[in-house]
């Protein structure tokens, strides 16, 4: 069903009792051309673009829980393309361009809001780094503006500009950055994929990968064996566990990242602000809650919940830069499991096994990449060729010494 003003009026007149489900709930078929493991944003967008761009529609997406229960529903919904390195920037800019047309493309309101994102800096050296990043962005055709102290004060007057340790000297602004309603991204891609013939199978956990003569031929699941000609893994957080089923080891550690939301407020913060030195960033949801987070807890974890020291650290960082936060109550906190790769950048590649493809290592930056990740992964699965925008995201780059280390932290995943 196409959503439009006409469908809205018609259903309003019948009391909204006749909306059809947004996607089917099929039982799995015995086999598919492509099976995608992981019904998060990346798996669903991959299925969508396989159908739409490559006309491959005999596809199943297997989700171990309910759709949207993983990282696609646990992130802080930020989109941006303010990357420094040449291997990253064109990919994320393409993703931002896909976000800009996404709602019309898949006929679903994902509440894409380009409200802007500003990264604060606090020293001469940090200003130089921000200027360098901004220049790199502009050389790639991406918008970037360097704000001085007064420029930041004009848009965010309630920040603590004279923090003793980190006085605000300015910020790097990307106006096209912003937020998206993350659940709607999962739902929109799911609905779009489903209407193009993709089977989305929820509550179907993959327990094994069947390999025959060096070729992935299907998966063992809690709903029985499902055969396939091509198998695509997009199970971020659990990528190492999935790869182990195929006998592969990855350059990835799983870490927990926490996020938080406060009680609802009247409009207060009309953009995304990041206070990197205080390990803190925040935006305000359309519902009014302040959505914020910080860095990962720092130890390997599959627990989907963090510990108090990080909670306190994030809140201290927040109050240091926005003193007004001290009077606001936090409603909820939660954790998601990040694939922390060894250089802080993702992997979209084929594997040494025939017919097995890998999409993983998104660290804590996977949400903004959802459209481009699916686009490039679908291209790889359909054509067997790496998409040029993902040319740097090869699995063997660590072996070749061609890492993409945006943070410059080295092979220490908890520092990226």
């Amino acid at each position: 069903m196409h959503y439009s003003i006409v469908s809205l009026v018609r259903n309003a007149l019948s009391g909204h009792r006749h909306w059809p489900p947004a996607w089917r709930e099929p039982e799995p078929k015995p086999d598919y051309d492509v099976v995608i493991v992981g019904g998060g944003g990346h798996g669903l967008s991959t299925a969508y673009y396989l159908a739409r761009e490559h006309d491959i529609r005999n596809v199943a997406v297997l989700e171990k829980s309910w759709l949207g229960s993983g990282n696609v529903g646990r992130n802080t919904t930020i989109i941006r393309s303010n990357y420094l390195l040449a291997g990253n920037n064109p990919f994320y800019e393409f993703s931002l361009k896909l976000w800009e047309g996404l709602e019309q493309e898949f006929n679903f309101n994902a509440m894409v809001s380009q409200r802007g994102i500003v990264n604060l800096f606090h020293s001469d050296a940090q200003r130089d780094a921000a200027a360098r990043r901004g220049n790199a962005m502009r050389l790639h055709g991406v918008d970037a503006e360097l704000l001085d102290r007064d420029g930041v004060r004009r848009i965010l007057p309630f920040l603590n500009f004279d923090n003793g340790r980190f006085p605000i000297m300015g910020g790097l602004l990307q106006r096209r950055g912003g937020t998206v309603r993350h659940d709607a991204v999962a739902w929109g891609y799911a609905r779009g994929a489903d209407s193009n013939g993709v089977d989305i199978i929820q509550n179907c956990e993959v327990t094994g990968i069947r390999i025959d003569n060096g070729r992935a031929i299907g998966v063992e699941t809690t709903k029985g064996f499902i055969g396939c000609r091509k198998l695509a893994l997009a199970g971020a957080g659990n990528s190492s566990e999935l790869a182990r089923m195929a006998g592969l080891k990855l350059p990835i550690e799983s870490h927990v990242l926490q996020a938080f939301v406060t009680e609802g407020l009247k409009p207060y913060l009309d953009m995304v602000v990041t206070f990197g030195m205080g390990h803190f960033y925040m935006s305000q949801s359309d519902k009014g809650g302040l959505v914020f987070g910080g860095d990962i807890d720092g130890y390997n974890s599959y627990a989907r919940r963090g510990n108090m020291p990080t909670v306190e650290h994030v809140l201290e960082g927040g109050v240091a830069i926005i003193p007004g936060l001290s009077r606001i109550r936090v409603l909820r906190s939660w954790g998601g499991i990040m694939d922390m790769s060894m250089d802080g950048s993702p992997i979209i590649d084929a594997t040494p096994l025939d017919g097995l493809y890998l999409n993983c290592g998104w660290c804590y930056g996977g949400f903004k990449a959802t459209p481009a990740s699916g686009w490039c992964f679908a291209h790889l699965i359909a054509t067997g060729q790496t998409h040029k925008l993902a040319a740097s995201y090869r699995l063997d780059r660590f072996r070749r010494g061609a890492t993409i280390d945006e943070r410059g932290a080295g092979a220490q995943p908890n520092l990226h």
Partner: protein, 88 residues
Amino acid sequence: MLIDCPYCGERLSEEFTILGDATKQRPAGSGASDIDAWYDYVFIRDNPKGRHREYWQHTGGCRAWLVVERDTLTHQVYAVTPARDASA
């Protein structure tokens, strides 16, 4: 999360700093033929869901290097030993 330091007793995890996986063995050689061993040592991780041996330092206490055996799914700490006693 509490970590039972063999020297200081049970302390909050925030007194400690994690380095990472304690199962990786630094390769002995550094020639061209050792590159695969170095690749494995620097980049590849088992990343288990469950029991995991990792290096922590008691930076906010006695500064000793420790090997902590911990569950990555429940955060339960099973054993803490001084790193010098835990090698190999």
